[in-house]
């Protein structure tokens, strides 16, 4: 007990001594002390260090929903007239250096700048993070002797440096050589920010390219391009063709006479085309949707054209004729004597569902739009004209509220829904004939 007390005392003393030295040198440690609590030099140094060693606290307890004006807020307000971009952010950070040459309160400023980065749209910019780290005074926080090296030297500043790196981590920004150079210059080799940097360097490179279905960082703004990207993303068959059935027409170009025309983009692979041609016209096929697909932080909705699974008695097994090739037998009925040690199949019946014939993304999720898609599909699939198409849409309008569109069935009562489906079916058949 007494031993631990002695340790604590020693830590407190060394911190106090360190911060007093630091105060004498730069006045930097007082940046952490809130300005509304003016205290004497000796006392503030001592209390500050002692409770920091005992109670692990977040670096700025004052952050959060309380709308207190943070120090240096005025620097960001001075950013001229409305536009918030990288240039104005960089200017603000540089202004801070000119504003206070001794860089008093730079820790507060960096925390504030980290919070402001999202508003300026620079949260993924490595150069800006390096610029922020550059705000730290150099060579001041490096430990100079063994005692300082053992105990955390300038803990608040190190925490702030770790916070910068942590925000980089959250936004997936990989630090570079310049970051490393800055960190070594500011905190030295054996410091917590440097440790964080090493960890990031190690793990970011390991996990950078593990996604087998990569999505570009910047998604296209144009809905047609986005739909094309989403459909290509979902379709495993690379020979599938994307067709734009209808380009979007905005209300301005048609001068209000025409209603807005949503875009319709579809995808179909040759195999799906062949399967649709083989489909038994007596069995209806279904337009289902909308289902959600996430491309990074963007949610798009798609519809599929599918059939129900065939009952087992109607499934025809495709047989290769025996005498197709005289030299090489097409079928081998040899029993290789595979025993259970060579059985890599799971002992389970996988979930089977009916075949998917096509997918589409449209600007509106109503039946009229999707009927246009079916009409467009008929050009490349003449068999579709004979097959009844039933619309099973979960939402009536473009607004999607269902959390799980796959599971939602529209009808309030089942009887009514069947009527609706029959109506749809009739409509569709009338439209075709």
């Amino acid at each position: 007990m007494s031993w631990s007390q002695a340790i604590l005392l020693a830590r407190g003393l060394s911190r106090g001594w360190g911060s007093i030295c630091g105060a004498a040198l730069t006045g930097a440690p007082f940046s952490q002390v809130p300005p509304q609590a003016p205290r004497g030099l000796q006392r503030s140094a001592a209390t500050h260090s002692s409770d920091s060693s005992l109670v692990p606290r977040p670096p700025e307890p004052r952050r959060g929903p309380i709308k207190a004006l943070a120090p240096h807020e005025e620097l960001f307000e001075q950013a001229p007239g409305g536009e918030r971009d990288k240039a104005s952010f960089v200017r603000t950070v540089q202004n801070f250096g000119q504003h206070s040459v001794r860089k008093r309160g730079h820790v507060d400023f960096i925390y504030l700048a980290l919070r402001k980065m999202r508003h300026y749209g620079v949260e993924r910019d490595l150069a800006v993070y390096n610029l922020l780290l550059d705000v730290f005074p150099k060579e001041v926080f490096r430990p100079r002797n063994i005692i300082q090296r053992i105990f955390v030297h300038y803990p608040r500043q190190q925490e702030c440096g770790v916070a910068v790196l942590e925000q980089m981590e959250n936004y997936g920004v990989m630090p570079n050589k310049e970051t490393e150079f800055l960190l070594i210059q500011i905190f030295g080799h054996k410091s917590y920010p440097m440790l964080k940097f090493l960890r990031m360097k190690l793990w970011f490179s390991r996990f950078k390219n593990i996604n087998p279905f990569p999505v570009p960082r910047d998604l296209p703004q144009d809905p047609v391009d986005l739909a094309r990207l989403g459909l290509r993303h979902m379709e495993p068959d690379l020979s599938a063709r994307v067709t734009i059935y209808q380009m979007p027409l905005s209300r301005d170009s048609t001068a209000g006479t025409d209603p807005t025309q949503p875009h319709i983009v579809g995808i179909q692979s040759p195999d799906q085309q062949a399967a649709l041609a083989r489909h038994n016209p007596a069995r209806p096929i279904f337009v289902e949707g909308p289902f959600s697909l996430w491309l990074r932080d963007k949610c798009v909705y798609y519809h599929i054209l599918r059939a129900d699974m065939l009952p087992p008695e109607e499934r025809e097994v495709e047989e290769i004729p025996e005498e197709w090739n005289l030299y090489y037998p097409m079928q081998l009925d040899l029993d290789y004597g595979r025993s259970s040690w060579d059985d890599y199949q799971f002992d389970i019946d996988e979930v089977e569902e009916g075949p998917v014939f096509a997918m589409c993304m449209a600007g509106a999720h109503d039946q009229a739009t999707l009927a246009k898609w079916i009409q467009g599909l008929q050009e490349s699939n003449p068999a579709l004209a004979r097959i009844p198409v039933v619309f099973r849409l979960s939402g009536s309008t473009g607004e999607l509220l269902a959390a799980t569109p796959r599971m939602e069935e529209p009808p309030p009562t089942p009887r009514q829904s069947q009527d609706e489906e029959e109506n749809n079916l009739h409509q569709q058949q009338q439209g075709q004939s």
Partner: protein, 328 residues
């Protein structure tokens, strides 16, 4: 006897807290049990089994009934409460399990002949073919710590797969200490033997985890937790990522066990160790990709198999910069 039962129940609740999740240390409390999926689904499982033969045909009526039955417990499902009977049944059940244990041990490990187990190359561990399969899982979200995410688990439309769905919200709880939030998780229950003795899975002859899923393009994290009695190790787990493709097709995810990295309390450790497969207690899926909105994940089954082409033992080397003590 009643006292014994109470004791057993007590330990049961306490053990539940040790289930894996990125932030399970926050759930220390008995209210954890309230949010389990089983408490919702259990009473419904019995009546529904009788009336669900229409599987293949998409009968809207049947589906509708099932949907309703999920949410509300039907009124006739309120049996008379008798503590004596419940205790008697519980004790009977435990003794039955104990007897099974002894008998199975006589046949072979896990109640199957030894040669069958030794030659097995692929094994289905969890499948979803009925309501009772859902009871092997727990769903949690950051509601436990005051967040706004919600997650539900139910059987899919054709009653052949599990559907995990919900809404992710990364709004941090206003409790003064949490800065970030937003996760949803699905965790398998620790298998229990007689008298709530915890058991574990032995997957040491397999080297790859296999999942047949269908998602909506969101990345998930697969967490595997080792069975341990050491209290300091209860927050340790091994994780890797599962990327879903999205779209209407089922997707086969194969993750070699060598890819799983080691973490403690949600932080990757500097010193990485290989996942040892002889005592696996549970597997979990976590969604925390900081994107607010609805999500779903359909799971057909989860299995383990041996991939003879995969020879890697562990994917991550240790760095001498971070862990110098391993290189002395």
């Amino acid at each position: 006897m009643a006292l014994v039962h109470k004791l057993l129940n007590g330990t049961y609740i306490l053990r539940k807290c040790q289930l894996p999740s990125a932030t399970s240390r926050l759930f220390l409390g008995p209210q954890f049990a309230d949010y389990c999926s089983s408490s919702l689904h259990k009473p419904v499982a019995v009546p529904d089994k009788g009336g669900s033969p229409q599987k293949t045909e998409r009968d809207l009526q049947g589906h509708h009934q099932r949907e309703v039955a999920l949410d509300i417990t039907s009124p006739e499902e309120n049996p008379e409460v008798s503590f004596d009977k419940a205790i008697r049944d519980e004790i009977k059940e435990h003794f039955r399990r104990l007897k099974d244990d002894f008998v199975n041990h006589w046949i072979g490990p896990e109640g199957r002949p030894l040669h069958e187990i030794l030659l097995e190359q692929a094994k289905v561990v969890w499948q979803f073919r009925g309501k009772e399969d859902l009871d092997k899982w727990i769903v949690t979200s950051d509601k436990m710590i005051g967040g706004r995410s919600e997650v539900f688990l139910k059987m899919g439309k054709n009653n052949q797969s599990a559907l995990l769905y919900g809404n992710l919200s990364s709004e941090a709880p206003q409790d003064g200490e949490s800065g970030r939030s937003g996760y949803c998780a699905m965790i398998s229950r620790v298998p229990k033997g007689p008298f709530e003795r915890k058991k574990s899975y032995d997957w040491s002859q397999f080297n790859t985890l296999y999942l047949r899923v269908r998602g909506d393009g969101r990345p998930w994290m697969v967490n595997i937790r080792e069975d341990t009695d050491i209290i300091q190790r209860k927050n340790q787990m091994y994780s890797y990522f599962m990327f879903t493709r999205g779209g209407p097709y089922w997707q086969e995810v194969k993750i070699p066990f060598s890819k799983f990295f080691f973490s403690n309390q949600g932080r990757i450790r500097d010193a990485q160790f290989q996942l040892l497969l002889d005592k696996i207690s549970s597997v979990g899926f976590t969604l925390a990709d900081k994107v607010d909105g609805p999500f779903f994940l359909e799971i057909d089954f989860i299995g383990v198999f041996t991939d003879p082409a995969h020879t890697e033992e562990f994917a991550y080397e240790n760095s001498p910069d971070l862990t110098p003590r391993l290189f002395k």
